[in-house]
């Protein structure tokens, strides 16, 4: 079984980079489809992709558990969802593997991949992940539970209850906060008292780490270290990845109504994807040409995914009442 300590090979990093590009291409496509009136509602991971993929790349989909949140499109891809599957969810098709078109896209779930079905509610996944962590600890196979959320979610009582429980019982859980400093229109200063999210770990006697979310290698290292700790019985870690929300909260929101235009303009220049690309080029792992080829390839993939998803059948109306309870 591979361990995180193995480190990052060029192949794995390029694969991660490809996943980042997939997420962005999917996002671009979704916005086009939204403007064309074909998709109802979009939450964009723009600005979070590198952090999400960096984190998941340090873990073991299939072995570990993942409690994702609605902004985790890049994380979902990293967990093994295909672009077509995510487009099936966007179009609310029957074959959407997460919910068969029942939930808004962004509520990812796939039992075989260890991606635990979430809801749109902010926060409840955090103590739930502690419970999953407890189960994994009992099973004693070294698996862990990764749970992600925004800094807004840290205000919920459930954040506190989840960290407290996981810390008491040394559950193998990685609490991964994607801090984009905004919860819809509420800025961090009105949301998170005190110095920041990472510092809250000390209250529970567990390690707290702050990391730049646009630095793939830094995120990966932080998560890999936390994973090793979790797998070896060292208990949970709280990681705060600082990211930018390069889009409004969702297509129902327009952040220009409440944010400083100068700040928005400055942030637009700090897209983490070019930064990751440049880092790979500097390492000699990627050339501009290979980058372009990869982008073209990803775009074709997303195009095919879109076509396939759009053509896929809707859920049967008669299925409405299924799965409220177990089938008899």
């Amino acid at each position: 079984m591979p361990t995180d300590a193995e480190g990052l090979t060029k192949e794995r990093v390029l694969e991660a980079y490809r996943t980042v590009l997939q997420a962005r291409a999917l996002d671009d496509r979704r916005f086009v489809l939204n403007r064309a009136g074909k998709l109802a509602f979009i939450i964009s991971p723009r600005g979070h992709e590198v952090a999400q993929v960096g984190a998941i790349a340090a873990l073991q989909p299939g072995r570990d558990r993942f409690c994702l949140y609605y902004r985790n499109f890049a994380a979902a891809l990293a967990c093994g969802f295909t672009p077509e599957e995510l487009m099936l969810a966007a179009f609310a098709r029957a074959a959407d593997p997460s919910s068969g078109g029942r939930q808004t896209p962004g509520n990812f779930g796939s039992r075989r991949r260890g991606v635990v079905i979430g809801s749109s509610t902010v926060g409840p996944q955090i103590p739930k992940a502690a419970g999953i962590g407890l189960a994994l600890q009992w099973r004693g196979e070294g698996a862990l539970c990764y749970v992600s959320f925004g800094e807004g979610a840290t205000s919920q009582g459930d954040f506190h209850e989840g960290l407290n429980f996981a810390a008491i019982h040394h559950c193998p859980v990685i609490f991964f906060c994607e801090n984009n400093h905004w919860a819809i229109s509420v800025p961090q200063a009105l949301q998170v008292a005190g110095p920041g999210v990472a510092e809250r770990a000390a209250a529970y006697g567990i390690p707290g780490v702050r990391v730049r979310g646009d630095d793939f290698f830094a995120v990966h290292a932080a998560v890999a270290e936390a994973a090793q700790r979790a797998r070896s019985g060292g208990g949970p870690t709280l990681i705060e990845a600082e990211v930018l929300r390069l889009q409004s909260h969702s297509t129902d929101d327009d952040q220009r109504a409440y944010r400083d235009p100068a700040e928005l303009a400055a942030e637009a220049l700090q897209d983490p994807i070019p930064r990751m690309r440049d880092a790979l080029i500097t390492r000699g792992w990627l050339s501009p040409e290979a980058d372009q080829a990869m982008r073209d390839d990803v775009n074709r993939e997303v195009e095919k995914a879109t076509e396939a998803a759009e053509a896929a059948p809707e859920p049967e109306p008669a299925s409405l009442g299924r799965h409220v309870y177990a089938d008899a």
């Binding site: 068969g100 939930q103 808004t104 749109s120 509420v186 049967e316 409405l320 409220v324």
Partner: protein, 328 residues
């Protein structure tokens, strides 16, 4: 009189009451510069400042609790839950604390406040932006529950709720927020009393008791029955706790038949209370069984348009149900 949508009428009510009484204040997620996700608080923070219109952390229990603290100190908070589905983290504060303040203190304290929340479906909000949880709150002694269906009612009842001496859960059908414009009175002329139903269609053959978005659906269903010689009397309860039993009894004495149309899950919905109470009170007048026409017992409407449509009541489904009662 100015023409207003329902959400504008809500906003006007808040504005007027805040102008009238400087103890009235607004708190919730994104209620400030953004003006709320549905724009119900638009412009209020600009006018009344960031204290009286306060953006709250993403923590519903504390929203309810802070509102309660303000109310105990003589302020009149109007707290917003971003969606009624997200009021559950505050359930303990609402049910165990707010609702029981007056009773448990033997009248020494009171807790007059309003908790507003958009309710119901039909806007592709899926499982977590579509729920109709009024039955939960209607079962709680100490709470009042209002659920208006027109701009004028929303304004008049919200003003009354703010002036009420007890805590009021004020549920706003989000499907109706922009559904129609209506002339809405200003200032004191807009006020409407709580606990008073409106007979919104006169009829002789069948009484329908309904509320919220289902009022409009019922009105369309009633129009479909008219050509068949079935004249439906439609009562919009507007306030669910306490509700206007007498208005309903009077109508049933005339029509001899009763259906209740509600959007919530059928089992244990507030329509059960209406049915039980009126079936008992009007036993001798009833020529047919009291029928409930409600949403299926499925968590809430799925995201898929096909499934959302299958879930939701519409004029045809309601007309079918009413015809059965009329023809019994």
């Amino acid at each position: 009189m100015p023409e207003r949508t329902l959400v504008q009428a809500v906003r006007d009510a808040l504005y007027e009451e805040m102008e009238r009484d400087d103890r009235v204040c607004v708190l919730g997620q994104d209620v400030g510069l953004k003006g709320g996700v549905f724009k119900a608080t638009e412009g209020l923070q600009q006018r009344f400042g960031a204290e009286r219109v306060m953006d709250m952390p993403l923590a519903e229990s504390s929203i309810a609790a802070v509102a309660q603290g303000l109310a105990l100190e003589g302020f009149t908070p109007v707290a917003e839950m971003q969606f009624a589905d997200y009021s559950y983290p505050a359930f303990n504060q609402i049910v165990n604390e707010i609702a029981k303040v007056r009773y448990r203190s033997n009248g020494d304290f009171s807790c007059p406040l309003v908790i507003r929340a958009p309710t119901g479906g039909g806007v592709r909000g899926a499982l977590y932006h579509s729920q109709s949880p009024e039955a939960f709150y209607c079962h709680v002694p100490g709470l009042k529950v209002v659920l208006p269906s027109t701009p004028a009612d929303a304004k008049g009842l919200l003003k009354a709720a703010i002036r009420d001496r007890d805590p009021v859960i004020f549920l706003e059908p989000k499907k109706l927020y922009r559904a129609e414009r209506q002339e809405v009175a200003q200032g004191e002329a807009a006020l409407l009393p709580l606990a008073s139903a409106a007979v919104v269609r006169q009829g002789t053959d069948l009484t329908v008791v309904t509320y919220g978005y289902m009022r409009a659906v019922t009105m369309q269903a009633a129009a479909k029955l008219s050509p068949d010689g079935i004249e439906v009397e439609v009562i919009d309860l507007r306030t669910l706790r306490p509700w206007d039993v007498e208005a309903c009894v009077r109508s049933i004495q005339k029509t001899g038949r009763l259906a209740i149309v509600y959007e919530a899950n059928r089992t244990g919905g507030f329509g059960a209370e209406v049915a039980a109470e009126l079936a008992e009170r009007c036993f001798a007048s009833l020529d047919a069984p009291v029928s409930r026409i409600a949403s299926p017992d499925v968590p809430a409407m799925p995201f898929s348009p096909a499934l959302e449509h299958a879930f939701m009541l519409n004029p045809d489904k309601v007309a079918d149900g009413l015809r059965r009662v009329a023809r019994y």
